[in-house]
Symmetry: C2
Subunit: 179 residues, 2 copies
């Protein structure tokens, strides 16, 4: 017999699939609370605490192309790969394994990921996402998810690759409030 | 004697000041965790649960003109007035006092507050900030804080009042990630 049921040939041996299917149930989709559990059980919160629900919502919003507010297995798997990459990055800078990095380490981490941001912007991000000057893994992932999604949205509108985009008010709000 | 100590003439009778000063302590500033306690003790979470920390961070970011990540008493008082206005609005639409409203009620609430947004934008906001189709008071306040701050940022850049703004990538990220 094929464990995990029919309809997912080639994926039945995937350990990620086991975590997913146990939580997703019949509809094969997970919402933000189920994603929180999936990521914890799959070890993707990296030995740190579970991601908070706001971060999980952000993750769904980043990949939610059909605006269902939910996530299927393929998106979950894609997310897992992305988070693993970011986790490796974070661990590199979290040298004492405290689960936090400081503002300077965040700046280096974002630079090595290819985000080109000015000092004032980096400073604002650090202020916004730190507590007592420290950035947790959870907040770090929230920053990465937002930056990636906003950069994608910006690029889609910057068809001429000029590094600038003209937004109507409604489009600006739509672009920004969806993340 | 003057209760509350010197240095704040005219404010010592203000009940908001008592909540604030008890939590702020020596430096006269509160961070997001202290704001969460202040708002709960001042009854501003409206009989619902305390605001979550992410919402409290948003509130500080909205009013944090010196980018200290903290809030003084005058900003706290300003915030209190703003939240009270939004709370009255929310209660009007939360007819069964469940602490949640639905997407249609959100759309009417935002329209009566003067936000002019298209149906797709309203739909995206509802998807992003609801759980099982319901929007909590906490999420509602997060939406209001973000919309107000983003609209202010947009207007500051739209000097000619044309309803459109051209953003450089770095300025776009700075504007959006600060909220």
């Amino acid at each position: 017999g094929v464990p995990g049921g029919p309809g997912f040939p080639g994926q039945v041996q995937d350990p990620m699939y086991q975590y997913f299917v146990a939580i997703a149930g019949q509809d094969g989709q997970i919402d933000c609370e189920e994603l929180q559990r999936c990521l914890t059980q799959a070890g993707l919160s990296g030995g740190y605490k579970p991601f908070n629900l706001e971060t999980c919502r952000l993750m769904i919003a980043m990949l939610d192309r059909d605006l269902s507010g939910k996530m299927g297995f393929n998106e979950f798997k894609e997310l897992g790969g992305v988070i693993n990459g970011w986790k490796q990055h974070f661990i590199t800078f979290d040298s004492d394994r405290s689960g936090t990095i400081d503002g300077m380490e965040l700046q280096r981490a974002l630079a090595t990921m290819g985000f080109r941001l000015g000092p004032q912007t980096l400073n604002n991000i650090t202020k916004r996402y730190s507590n007592h000057g420290r950035i947790t893994f959870d907040d770090y992932i929230a920053i990465c998810v937002k930056l990636r999604a906003l950069t994608d949205s910006f690029r889609r509108r910057d068809a001429a690759h000029q590094g600038m985009v003209t937004f109507q008010y409604d489009d600006f709000v739509q672009c920004v409030m969806s993340i």
